[in-house]
């Protein structure tokens, strides 16, 4: 048992921290949120050069043999700069699925160009009616000739507006809510019959609404076994939740550090407002929640690849709950302690606030994770 970063991880953190401070501070995000795509291919290529797109993949897949903790370290630093490149969509979600579920030929076709920084990916799972239920899927894929024809609609697809390829969850059997009958397909972003609507989000990033109207794909576009994708989807979404906790840590740390600095500098009644006990206690409570968020996030990034699915779900859900509630405590009080200036767009605090709230809504909110936690086997055995 060990909670320290090893030398290599310490180096990754230092490098990522410097990179974000130099190459992509919050001011860059401010500029990009006004653009169509919301991120830049040049920066994606630079991130590939850093090795960040392949860091957690096995060496035989062109990676560096790292693990999810390495991703989490990078994500936290990206969070500090609100870096808008599609790291979660492309590396964590779609990259993870391809690495674990795809054939060698499929990995070479879709994963290799992504880790080289030439393409980006997306994972389309949510539908207008599905909320957080991964089994709830109306999009269908029916056999046609050698291939498949996809029809349906996906929403809130991270990087869905810009991805070169999209991994799509579609039903090849069963009814709307059935666990069985779900399959994964890789669809080109410019496929015939696919309409992509770019949706500007609260956080200044973009997602896509994707409409599939008889989109045809070849048989070689099916990832994994037909009709048996739920476990892989759930794992991908848990990776997403752990990634949200890690990126969120970057936002929480920024909000906390900026607030404490402001308490020391801002004067009212002739003294720094940080000398008022009522504000000191709020700041102390913020620190406590930050530490619990950090602890739970570390736990999630260690356990998200645990082959014991129940353990994975329990610890990821605990972390996401802590992000939703502890993170919320930090973000709302940061704005409160900044006062009026905290709700102006010119201050960065509001940008972190909004991104954190978006992360809260992704990959299961607090209530959903609590509900899932109490269905796990370990909850019923009083042991």
């Amino acid at each position: 048992m060990n909670f320290d970063l090893n030398d290599e991880q310490q180096m990754i953190m230092d490098q990522a921290g410097k990179f974000v401070a130099n190459e992509s501070p919050v001011s860059r995000f401010r500029r990009l949120r006004e653009t169509e795509r919301g991120w830049e291919p040049e920066m994606w290529a630079k991130m590939a050069e850093q090795g960040w797109l392949a860091i957690s993949l096995p060496e035989e897949q062109g990676g560096f043999g790292g693990n999810f903790v390495d991703l989490a370290i990078i994500l936290e630093q990206l969070g500090r700069g609100l870096v808008p490149e599609p790291y979660i969509a492309s590396v964590v979600l779609a990259g993870g699925l391809l690495s674990e579920e795809a054939s060698e030929a499929q990995r070479e076709a879709f994963l290799t160009p992504m880790i080289e920084g030439k393409t980006t990916l997306a994972f389309a799972y949510a539908e207008p009616q599905s909320r957080y239920n991964a089994s709830d899927c109306l999009t269908t894929a029916s056999k046609s000739g050698d291939g498949w024809t996809l029809s349906g609609e996906k929403v809130w697809v991270l990087n869905g507006h810009a991805a070169d390829q999209i991994i799509v969850v579609a039903r090849t059997g069963g009814g709307q809510f059935d666990d069985a009958g779900l399959s994964l397909f890789v669809v080109e972003g410019d496929a015939k019959g696919l309409t992509r609507i770019c949706v500007p989000g609260m956080d200044g990033q973009r997602t896509g609404v994707l409409r599939f109207e008889a989109v045809e794909v070849g048989a070689d576009r099916l990832i994994g076994l037909e009709g048996d994708a739920l476990a892989a989807i759930e794992k991908a979404l848990d990776r997403g939740a752990a990634a949200a906790c890690a990126e969120g840590m970057g936002h929480i740390r920024e909000l906390f550090e900026r607030t404490v600095a402001y308490l020391k500098e801002r004067e009212q009644f002739g003294v720094p407002i940080g000398s008022f006990q009522v504000l000191q206690h709020i700041a102390s409570d913020m620190y406590a929640e930050l530490e619990l968020c950090s602890s739970a996030s570390i736990l999630a990034s260690i356990q998200v690849d645990n082959p014991d699915v129940e353990t994975r779900k329990a610890d990821v859900s605990s972390a996401k709950l802590q992000l939703a509630e502890g993170g919320w405590f930090v973000q709302k009080n940061a704005i409160q302690l900044f006062g009026g200036i905290g709700i102006t767009d010119e201050q960065d605090e509001g940008l972190f606030f909004k991104r954190l709230r978006v992360l809260n809504a992704l990959f299961g909110d607090a209530d959903w994770h609590v509900a899932r936690f109490q269905t796990l086997k370990g909850f019923d055995t009083a042991d």
Partner: protein, 395 residues
């Protein structure tokens, strides 16, 4: 970063589990299942069983009779104790004055006191608070005046937990009135049973038990040899000891135990044709506490791991104290809610009205209001975090 256990650690867990299974007397096991509210005599019985095995002081160095376990082993041992509902040992000797003596005591003091703490032969209590020195601890007034080789003590301590059982008390006393109030304080070890002029009067707590006492000193004579550290140099030690105290004071193991108890009560509580444990809303309330506990447990392990690398417990022990005791209280509230109308009962309610395993719950619920007050109130902990960690300016 790695949370997995090595084969040796898995084997260690097996060893601990089977040993506890064999070592715990049948009567104690039954009590552990019923209520996990142990008598003082049972706590001491379990202390002696652990001592015989060499496991009484997981956090002491080997040369002082500790186990020499690393963080993982201590955490495994702790979780196995929780699993088996073993009695929790008194912290005042093993976790507080013992580690303090190991750090600051002279060789004579260590030789005289540590073996008896370890063996559970001498029971300790803490003499810190006074009627006018609560949160403002440095305001303490218990006077210690030199007389030959002794000090003569006059004054009063309060909230001296365990004093009614204790053989020895460690006190903070005033040896000088010069300079800042923190500067004239010394740390003394006092034989509470055999020193003339000491009177102990327990309080009846709202929990219906005698948990803490008032202790009066009237011309009580204590050898100067019983002073730990330099004269007037006790404040630094007092603070160091509070750091040790707070890390254990979050009641994390206790909360884990109590969450299991919530589930047991809910399983035994029939609601219509099902049980309370099948009620989705109530399950979610339990789940939230269990998930919060998981985050606190990892934070505790991180703090322990840092301590093992030689970092003194700092502001993180204040965080643990706050979040740990808040959870303890919330879990106690949850058990009361699980009991429904049975929560009206009390320690001496007849079994016809209140099942035996629920008889101590209301008492614990009441007493646990002390958790956010003792060991430095949670508000004082927030002051400590603000001042020492966040370096916010003083008013």
């Amino acid at each position: 970063m790695d949370l997995s256990y090595t084969p040796e650690q898995d084997q260690f867990r097996e060893e601990v589990r089977s040993w506890i299974g064999e070592a715990m007397p049948a009567e104690m096991k039954k009590h552990a299942e019923d209520a996990a509210n142990f008598e003082h005599s049972e706590v001491m019985e379990w202390h002696k069983i652990l001592y015989a095995k060499g496991w009484a002081a997981p956090n002491w160095p080997v040369e002082n009779g500790g186990t020499g376990w690393d963080v993982a082993q201590r955490s495994i041992f702790q979780s196995e104790c929780v699993r088996a509902n073993t009695p929790a040992l008194s912290p005042f000797g093993l976790n507080m004055v013992g580690p303090l003596m190991i750090q600051y005591g002279n060789e004579e003091q260590k030789a005289r006191f540590l073996p008896k703490i370890l063996a559970g032969e001498e029971i300790w209590c803490q003499g810190y608070s006074e009627p006018n020195a609560g949160s403002d601890l440095a305001n303490l007034q218990l006077r210690a005046e030199k007389d030959g080789d002794d000090y003569i003590l006059n004054g009063q301590k309060t909230w001296t937990t365990y004093a009614q059982y204790a053989d020895w008390i460690f006190v903070l006393c005033r040896t000088s009135k010069k300079g800042k109030k923190q500067e004239g304080i010394s740390f003394l070890l006092v034989d509470i049973r055999n020193t003339e002029g000491i009177e102990v009067k327990p309080f009846l707590t709202t929990g219906g038990t005698l948990a803490f006492s008032e202790t009066w000193f009237k011309d009580a004579r204590v050898p100067q040899a019983n002073r730990v550290g330099p004269e007037d140099g006790g404040w630094a030690m007092a603070k160091a000891l509070l750091g040790h105290e707070r890390t254990g004071i979050g009641g994390i193991a206790e909360s884990a135990r109590r969450l299991t108890q919530v589930k047991q009560v809910a399983q035994r509580t029939v609601v219509g044709n099902t049980t309370l444990f099948d009620d989705p809303e109530f399950r979610r309330r339990i789940a939230r506490k269990e998930m919060r506990l998981r985050a606190i447990e990892i934070f505790d392990l991180r703090a322990l791991a840092a301590a093992q690398l030689g970092h003194a417990p700092g502001a993180e022990s204040s965080v643990l104290k706050i979040v740990g005791t808040e959870l303890q209280q919330e879990v106690a509230e949850l058990i009361m809610d699980a009991m429904g109308h049975n929560a009206m009962g009390w320690l001496d309610s007849p079994e016809e009205a209140l099942p035996i395993h629920q008889q101590a719950i209301a008492s614990q619920f009441n007493y646990l209001r002390a958790a956010s007050i003792y060991g430095g109130s949670n508000e004082i902990q927030k002051n400590i975090i603000a001042k020492h960690l966040l370096r916010l300016p003083s008013a």
